[in-house]
C-alpha cells in the first residue's frame, strides 16, 4: 500500500506524537490526557502494573481502542480516526494470534498479499524474514508444530515483514519460560537495531523494560509517572511510585538536622539543598547501594553511617540479602554480591553492624501519603 516498494533493509521509521489522549470506562480513567512523544526509531517501553492503562494506550496507537479524545500523529499525519488496517503498524500480541489454518509462510505472507506484493517477491521476503528470526526452512510447518519460542518468532516476522513504520508489542514474551524470555529480550533488542523501526513495547516486568528499552514510560492510573532512559529511571526516580515499581527499594521519611540538611536516623544523607515543602521529603534506598561500613574504607565526609541490628540474613545464589533494623522498628534491606566472602561478613540475626550509604547515592523524592 504505502512502502512495499522500498527495498531497503530498514523501514522508514516514524516518530509518534500523542497529545491529550483520554479514554474512560465509565468513571474510570484508563487514559487521562496522556502526552507522549516517541522518537523516530527508538525502543520505548510502556511499563506499569496491570490496569495502569499501558495496553489501552498501545491499542489506541494500533487503532483497536477508540479514545474519547486526543490526538495521535505518526510523523505529521493525524491517525486517530484511521481504521487499523490503514495505519501500517506491525503488531505482536501476547497470545501471538497466529492463524492456525495457515502455514508459517502463509502467516508471514498474509500482510504482503494484502498489499499486492508479487508471488515471487513475496516468497523472497518471507524467506528473508524467516532468516532474520532464525527460522529458515520452517516455512511449510503448521503453527501447531512449533514450540512457544518459534511461535513468538513467527509472530514477530509477520509483524515486520511488510516494513511497517511502527512496531507495537503487547507483552510478547510473557508466555515464555524465564530462560527463553531472557534470550529473546536480547534478540529483540538486536532485531530492533537491525530494523531501526520505531518500537513501542508493553510490559509489566520492570527488569524486561530496563533490559530492552531506549526509554521507559512508566504509567500508572492512566497517567505517565515518568518518561526517561532506564538509567535515569532507576537512579533518579521522579516519585514514590516509580521508585517502588522499578527495582528494589526501601523508602523512609527524612527530617532536617540542626544544620538544616535532610537527614535520616541522625545522619546527614545529602549535601544538596532541598526546599521546605508541606509534604517533606523521602529517602529511597536501593539495597545494593548500602554496604557494611566496617569492612570498607569509609570516608565520613562522603558517607552516612548507621548502627544497625541484623534481623535476617539470606543467601540467594549470586547475591545475599540482609534485613537490618535501624531502631524505631525501621528496617533497611541490603544486597551484596557473594563473590567475596567478606561481603556477607557471615552476618547472623542479632549481630550488630554498621551500614554505610554514599551521599551521592542517596535518592531524595518528594514525600507522598502512603497508601
Amino acid at each position: 500500500m504505502t512502502n512495499s516498494e522500498s527495498n531497503g533493509a530498514a523501514s522508514t521509521a516514524l516518530p509518534i506524537h500523542i497529545q491529550g489522549l483520554t479514554k474512560r470506562y465509565g468513571k474510570l480513567h484508563a487514559l487521562d490526557a496522556v502526552d507522549l512523544d516517541i522518537r523516530s526509531g527508538e525502543f520505548l517501553t510502556l511499563l506499569g502494573p496491570s490496569g495502569s492503562g499501558k495496553t489501552t494506550l498501545l491499542m489506541a496507537i494500533a487503532g483497536f481502542n477508540r479514545p474519547d479524545a486526543g490526538s495521535i500523529r505518526f510523523g505529521d499525519e493525524e491517525v486517530i480516526l484511521k481504521p487499523p488496517h490503514k495505519r501500517d503498524v506491525g503488531m505482536v500480541f501476547q497470545s501471538y494470534a497466529l492463524f492456525p489454518h495457515m502455514s508459517v509462510a502463509g502467516n508471514i505472507a498474509f500482510p504482503l498479499k494484502l498489499r499486492g506484493v508479487s508471488e515471487k517477491e513475496c516468497a523472497e521476503r518471507v524467506n528473508e524474514a524467516l532468516e532474520t528470526v532464525q527460522l529458515s526452512g520452517l516455512g511449510e510447518r503448521g503453527i501447531d508444530q512449533l514450540s512457544g519460542g518459534q511461535r513468538q518468532r513467527v509472530a514477530l516476522a509477520r509483524a515486520f515483514v511488510f516494513r511497517p513504520r511502527i512496531l507495537l508489542m503487547d507483552e510478547p514474551l510473557s508466555a515464555l519460560d524465564k530462560k527463553l524470555r531472557e534470550r529473546m529480550q536480547i534478540e529483540l533488542k538486536h532485531l530492533h537495531r537491525q530494523l531501526g523501526v520505531t518500537t513501542v513495547y508493553v510490559t509489566h516486568d520492570q527488569r524486561e523494560a530496563l533490559t530492552m528499552s531506549d526509554r521507559i514510560a512508566v504509567i500508572n492510573h492512566g497517567r505517565l509517572a515518568q518518561v526517561d532512559t532506564p538509567e535515569a529511571i532507576y537512579n533518579h526516580p521522579a516519585n514514590a511510585f516509580v521508585a517502588d515499581f522499578i527495582g528494589e527499594s526501601t523508602m523512609v521519611p527524612l527530617s532536617r538536622d540542626a544544620s538544616g540538611s535532610l537527614s535520616f536516623a541522625g545522619q546527614r544523607i545529602t549535601d544538596k539543598a532541598y526546599e521546605d515543602t508541606a509534604e517533606g521529603w523521602s529517602l529511597v534506598v536501593r539495597p545494593e547501594r548500602l554496604f557494611l561500613a566496617d569492612t570498607a574504607g569509609v570516608d565520613p565526609e562522603k558517607t552516612a553511617v548507621f548502627d544497625v541490628t541484623v534481623r535476617e540474613s539470606v543467601f540467594q545464589g549470586e547475591t545475599a540479602f540482609v534485613l537490618v533494623d535501624i531502631g524505631d522498628d525501621t528496617e533497611l534491606a541490603l544486597r551484596f554480591g557473594t563473590g567475596s566472602a567478606e561481603a556477607t561478613g557471615g552476618l547472623k540475626p542479632g549481630d550488630r553492624a554498621r551500614v554505610g550509604l554514599l551521599r551521592e547515592d542517596a535518592i531524595v523524592i518528594p514525600r507522598e501519603r502512603q497508601p
Binding site: A33, R66, L81
Partner: protein, 302 residues
C-alpha cells in the same frame, strides 16, 4: 507529563466529537448485522404474539372484554387443563432428573474418548425427529406392542396392560424426548468441576460418598437446574407427544388451544390460553433466574 494545565484545556477535547461519531457509526454498523435476524424474529414471533395478546382481550362482540380470561377462572375444564399441564411437566422433569443425573455422572466420569462414543446415545435421540420417536413409542406401548408381549413372555403380567393413550404413555414418551435436554447441560456443568476439588475433599478426610454429597452434588446443581428448567418450560408448551400418546385423555394447554381453534374457531379464547401459557413460562424463568445463576449453562449447550 502531567495533565495539561488550564490554558491548554481545549486540547483535552481534541477530536472528541469526531471520535464519538465514529464510535457510534461503528457500533451501529456492527449491530446492523443482527438486524436481518431480528427482523425475522419480530415478524414471526413478536408481531404475531402481540397480535394474539390483543385478540385475547376482544370479546365476541368485537369490544374490549375480559371474558376469555373470566371463562378460564369460571370453567372447571380450564383449571383441569392447567393442572394436567403442570402435572405432566413436573413429573416429566422429575423422571428426567432421576434418569439423567446418573447418566450424566457416568458420562462425566468416562475418559474423553469413551465419553464421546457413549454421548452418541444421548445425541442420537436429540437429533432424531420427535415425531419419529413418538411414533416408535406408540408402536412399542400398544396393546400388542413389544413391551406388553415381552412382559407377558417373562411373566411380569398376564394380560396386556394399557400403556398408551393415557398418562403413562405420555410421560414415557415425553421423558424420552426431554432427557437429552437435561443431560447435555448437566454433563457440561459436571465436566467443569475441578478434579482437585474431589482430591481436596478426600485429603480432608471425606469418604467418596461424602465427597460426592457435599462437594460434587452442590457443584453440579447449576447444570441440573439449567437442564430441569429447559425441560420444564419445553414441557409446558408441548403438543405432539401428549396429542399422540395421550390419545385424548391427557389434555394439555397446547392440546386445548388447537381443539378450540379446530372446533370453535374462537381466536380470542385460544389466544387467551396461549397468553396465560406464555406468562406461566416467563414466570418460571423469572423465578429460576432470581434463585439460580443458570444463564451460562442454559445457553452453553451447543
Amino acid at each position: 507529563m502531567n495533565r495539561p494545565d488550564a490554558a491548554e484545556g481545549g486540547n483535552r477535547d481534541r477530536n472528541a466529537g469526531m471520535l464519538r461519531a465514529q464510535e457510534r457509526r461503528e457500533e451501529w454498523g456492527l449491530l446492523s448485522l443482527a438486524a436481518p435476524a431480528l427482523l425475522v424474529i419480530v415478524l414471526v414471533i413478536l408481531i404475531p404474539v402481540g397480535w394474539l395478546f390483543y385478540l385475547s382481550f376482544i370479546g365476541g362482540d368485537g369490544q374490549f372484554s375480559l371474558e376469555h380470561y373470566r371463562k378460564m377462572v369460571e370453567y372447571k375444564s380450564y383449571a383441569r387443563t392447567f393442572a394436567t399441564t403442570f402435572e405432566v411437566s413436573i413429573l416429566t422433569t422429575g423422571i428426567c432428573i432421576l434418569l439423567g443425573y446418573p447418566l450424566a455422572y457416568f458420562l462425566a466420569l468416562l475418559p474423553p474418548r469413551w465419553a464421546g462414543i457413549f454421548m452418541l446415545a444421548v445425541l442420537l435421540p436429540f437429533w432424531t425427529s420427535l415425531l419419529v420417536r413418538t411414533y416408535a413409542w406408540l408402536v412399542l406401548l400398544q396393546r400388542k406392542g413389544m413391551l406388553n408381549e415381552f412382559a407377558i413372555h417373562i411373566g411380569l403380567w398376564d394380560s396386556p396392560v394399557k400403556l398408551v393413550h393415557n398418562m403413562t404413555g405420555t410421560l414415557i414418551g415425553m421423558a424420552h424426548i426431554m432427557l437429552p435436554f437435561l443431560v447435555l447441560p448437566l454433563y457440561s456443568a459436571m465436566k467443569k468441576i475441578d478434579r482437585d476439588m474431589m482430591h481436596a475433599a478426600a485429603n480432608l478426610g471425606a469418604s467418596p460418598a461424602t465427597a460426592f454429597r457435599q462437594v460434587y452434588l452442590p457443584l453440579s446443581l447449576s447444570g441440573m437446574v439449567a437442564g430441569s428448567l429447559i425441560v420444564f418450560i419445553l414441557c409446558l408448551g408441548f403438543y405432539v407427544t401428549p396429542a399422540v400418546l395421550g390419545g385424548g385423555r391427557v389434555i394439555m394447554v397446547s392440546t386445548q388451544i388447537t381443539a378450540i381453534l379446530e372446533n370453535q374457531f374462537d381466536w380470542g379464547a385460544a389466544s387467551a390460553l396461549g397468553v396465560v401459557l406464555l406468562v406461566a413460562t416467563l414466570l418460571v424463568l423469572y423465578i429460576a433466574a432470581r434463585f439460580f445463576k443458570f444463564d451460562a449453562a442454559l445457553f452453553g449447550k451447543g
